[in-house]
Amino acid sequence: MFNYLIRRLFQMAIVLFLSTMASYALLNLAPGGPLTFLTSVQRRMNQEDIARVRAYFELDLFLPVRFSRWLTGFPRGPITVGGQTYFADFVVGCRQPREVEIRYSDGRRELKTVGCREGQDVTLADLVDRPRSSKGIIFGDLGNSWQITRDRPVSAVVVSRLPRTLQLMMISLVLSIIIGIPIGVISAVRQYSAFDYTVTSMAFFGSSMPTFFFALLMILIFSITFKRMGWVYLPPGNAESVKDYVIPFIGAVDAGSLKDNILHLIMPVSVLTLFNVAGWSRYVRTSMLEVLRQDYVRTARAKGLIERVVIAKHALRNALIPFITLVVFSIPAAFGGAIITETVFNWPGMGRLYFDALGRTDYPVAMALLLITAVLTVVATLVCDVLYTVVDPRIRLS
């Protein structure tokens, strides 16, 4: 087991490295970036201005160098040993790239960067006074935000969003398990009954309904229409209100109170729960149906065990083994948030933050969120494998 864990940890590190490298490259090579705003207003810019802004965001460094500085915080300058400086002139970037146009005989034209303008190389010595360098994410420094909280730590903004996301996702996760598993079990045990047909129909409805549409529909009905009609209504969005308010039959609600928070949670939690329950109940149903046909279930019944024990102790326990995978992998998702639901309901969580970070090309924030999801996913994979050994004695890790 120990050797297995060591091996897995080593593999995890490699997977993480490769995934972060791929994410970093994709984000940084995509068109756009923090300089996009330069063209949005009338502005007199010269090459020096452009070079200065590029340097501010470290876009003048070669991609592998930028990645290395983001990951490890190095290189931060020339290597100094015993007062002697080495590699000070080593080129790590270019302030003003040299571009040429290539024209093909079929009329195509292509613009290519072919090196650097003369005297515009960035060397290791130039990195010494750079104010924006971080200590590297492997040392826990996620760097500074480019746009969302400009020049301030990414970790602060991530930490500020985490509690709300966990609140929303965990409640939804627990409710989905509490509702989804029994529905799946009953559907399987009473296959082709009216209940089974009803639940199956609802599951298909829940799975096929886009969450944003369902969310907007709920806002229209339960917030706007109900309020206009003078009925009990729900707040359309946010995690809590700014002003105190009164809801018919419920009475006065203080802004920021527990009651206020619960009222704000109802709709987003319902949307997420409905979506999860729809899928998970079908999953449990299928798994249960397969287990119920197994010989050991028949044996249990033949031994005279009451049906409830057969279902709960012999069938369900085995049917839930593959379900572990689903639940464990929901944990990284819980930290990552639900992008669409959080955006539509204006829930201040990680999903909305990720959406915002991509929209505003705040790559340090987007990378931090991708990294967190990647870490949690590889950890979840390990946890999942270990859990299998706990719930299924037939599985051995070696």
Binding site: G32, S40, E48, V100, D151
Partner: protein, 650 residues
């Protein structure tokens, strides 16, 4: 240079020879093409081709086969039914409103600089006229054909590039049909905004034929960076400049430069008139329409006065709640990145900034009014003086176009060959001796009762700190051209300073104070005084970015990231006590959600940056009609859509 050319020709022959030899030995039609720029071999690359290409010596010098012809450009303008385009995206705007949104030149009709005389060539929808121009240009429509062709049989088509925004997809589809009706095939390319506005792609590299996007009109029309000949972005200047059409009309260029180099409004109007006549005549950029914008607020809010040219919070000190309430809730679609105005220029930052910092002046309804300044500096009131000075070689100057640096960013001094503007207004190339130039000296006087929100009066050291910090190249600002144009500053009192600009500097906006204020007395949480903190650290300081001191009507007391900003009335506000004591700004990214919150009463104000002009405007109009207690204000915005025509190809 000649040797290089010979070498290039020799290489080309060698290349052909190698291709022929290769072709004898194998069936693969592959050759080596020397790819050149100017006269220098820069890259060798294998290309599937049959002939060697002779590459033009310079970039973007060959006129576009269609758009290089003014008749084609004017034909496109006549074939464009702009009211129909407006109706396609703003179904809630009536015919009268549509007329308000139309533009004939680059300056919106409501602007003080707009000219509407008979010399302006207008392009009302007239497909017959447009088609006649196409015919005249040699693009004729064969019987039964849908699209025109020229004598060589080439089809008349143009690539039309714009963003993927649904709004643009809608009007672009209508535009495509309008052009097809005139026999011009439009090939629509909807690129991601990140590509279209990217720093190394799309517009920046003039990678388009027809290109649609928007400019934000301003109270001062400016326009130098968009239309002057020296602002054409080409590879040679590192793609600097925003004249994406590559348009160089010397009369227009001189006029736009001159309009931005005088302080007398009548003169400016005259220069803008000249410019607009040329702009409309040449038809290099078709102004399509001013966008519509909607603002909505609770009926409970009194004195809500949004304006196309000013942030709607400009008069928050006047706001009042009819029911006597003391808390107002605003929804903003985007969160400011920072309250440090030097590095964050987003509209949402300015919207919040007005309430915290106030502003030296407001720009309500397309004109300037004093706010934190006691009065607008002008030649007439003696606060701006234009002195004639004699300048000799080596003295700091700005060039004839008002630029303080060369293309490499080096500060200009008077040297041989530099083109400067003399005191008589003539552009001359300096060749030695001395030259007489104008030097601008402007005094800026602020309200004497300006007081920081912690109770400390604004003083001389605060202006000095701002000058020191904001003009430091390490501060993180994007544009230092104003700083680079200043020769010296004399801080004369706690509410007044005088700036002496470099000879030749004649910015029409010189009445705007170029130097801000920072609370030099402020002590940071780590015990340091703000004045002692290096500029590179400022953007990361909580006291600057999140809880700044200001002398505006409100104090930012709490900022919950991604959720809300809480402001309370500033007890030391120089205009007196505010009626609304608390303002909370909620960050609501989704417009539909913001509207839902307005209708449910959770939010009191949705500004144009959040409400926009999409389907949600119709929702609030319908809600108002249904009796919901809201006010809806729809007007032409300062932002205008246009179609740029790239006059040259590489």
């Amino acid at each position: 240079m000649r040797n290089h050319k010979n070498a290039m020709v020799a290489l080309a022959f060698l290349t052909i020879a190698s291709v022929l030899l290769a072709a004898c030995g194998t069936q693969v039609v592959t050759q080596i093409v020397e790819v050149t720029k100017e006269v220098e071999v820069v890259q060798t690359q294998l290309v599937e081709a049959t002939t060697v290409v002779e590459v033009e010596a310079a970039s973007f010098t060959k006129p576009h086969p269609l758009l290089g012809d003014i008749r084609v450009r004017q034909g496109i303008a006549y074939c464009t039914n702009r009211p129909q385009l407006i109706a396609s995206v703003y179904p809630f705007v009536d015919a009268e409103g549509q007329q308000k949104q139309l533009m004939d030149t680059n300056i919106p009709r409501a602007s003080w600089a707009a000219y509407d005389g008979p010399e302006i060539q207008k392009y009302p929808f007239d497909a017959t006229k447009g088609q006649a121009l196409f015919d005249e240009a040699g693009w004729t429509l064969a019987e039964g054909a849908t699209y025109r062709t020229n004598a060589d049989g080439d089809e008349m088509n143009l690539k039309f590039t714009t963003t993927t925004a649904a709004f643009r997809q809608t009007w672009a589809a209508v535009f495509e049909k309008q052009m097809a009706a005139c026999g011009l095939r439009i090939i629509r390319l909807h690129a991601p905004a990140s590509w279209w506005f990217g720093s190394t792609t799309g517009l920046r590299h003039r990678d388009f034929e027809l290109g649609a996007y928007a400019w934000v009109g301003e109270t001062d029309p400016k326009g130098q960076t968009l239309y002057a000949c020296n602002q054409i972005n080409v590879p040679e200047n590192g793609w600097a400049g925003q004249n994406y059409m590559g348009w160089c009309n010397q009369v227009a260029s001189d006029a736009i430069n001159a309009a931005n180099n005088t302080l007398v409004r009548e003169e400016r109007i005259a220069h803008y008139k000249t410019f607009q006549i040329e702009f409309a005549k040449d038809m290099v950029s078709l102004p399509v329409f001013q966008r519509a914008e909607g603002n909505a607020a609770s009926s409970n809010l009194v004195n809500f006065k949004p304006s196309a040219t000013e942030y709607y919070t400009w008069n928050s000190y006047e706001w009042e709640l009819a029911d006597g309430g003391d808390t107002l809730v605003l929804a903003l679609s985007q969160e400011p990145a920072s309250m440090y105005s030097l590095i964050e220029s987003a509209a949402v930052q300015r919207t919040v900034g007005w309430m915290i910092f106030d502003s030296s002046m407001s720009q309500y309804d397309w004109d300037f009014q004093p706010a934190a300044v006691a009065e607008l500096s002008s030649v007439e009131n003696g606060m701006i003086q234009i002195n004639e000075v004699e300048v000799k070689e080596g003295d700091p100057v700005v060039d004839y176009s008002g630029t303080p640096t060369d293309s490499e960013g080096n500060l200009l001094t008077l040297t041989s060959g530099l083109k400067v503007k003399t005191s008589s207004g003539e552009d001359v190339e300096f060749s030695g001796g001395t030259v007489k130039m104008n030097q601008l000296v402007a005094t800026y006087e602020f309200q004497p009762t300006l007081t920081w929100s912690d109770g400390e009066p604004v003083k001389k050291a605060d202006f000095e700190l701002a000058y020191k910090n904001d003009c430091d190249p390490a501060s993180g600002a994007v544009d230092y051209s104003t700083c680079q144009s200043i020769q010296s500053v004399d801080f004369t009192s706690d509410n007044e300073y005088t700036v002496t600009y470099k000879p030749g500097y004649m910015n029409s906006l010189s009445f705007i104070p170029p130097i801000a204020t920072y609370p030099s007395h402020q002590v940071l949480s780590d015990g340091r005084k703000l004045a002692d903190v290096p500029t590179t650290e400022w953007s990361g300081l909580k006291e600057i970015a999140e809880t700044p001191l200001g002398f505006g009507p409100y104090i930012l007391t709490n900022w919950e990231k991604g959720v809300k900003l809480e402001l309370t009335a500033n007890p030391f506000y120089w205009r007196g006590e505010n009626k609304v004591k608390n303002i909370t700004i909620l960050i609501v990214q989704d417009t539909q959600q913001a509207v839902a919150q307005l209708l449910s009463g959770d939010v009191d104000v949705i500004g144009s940056e959040t409400l926009g002009a999409g389907a949600e405007v119709q929702t609030v109009i319908d809600a108002q009609a249904a009796g919901d207690p809201i006010q809806v204000l729809i007007e032409p915005s300062a932002t205008w859509e246009h179609i740029d025509m790239n006059l040259f190809v590489p």
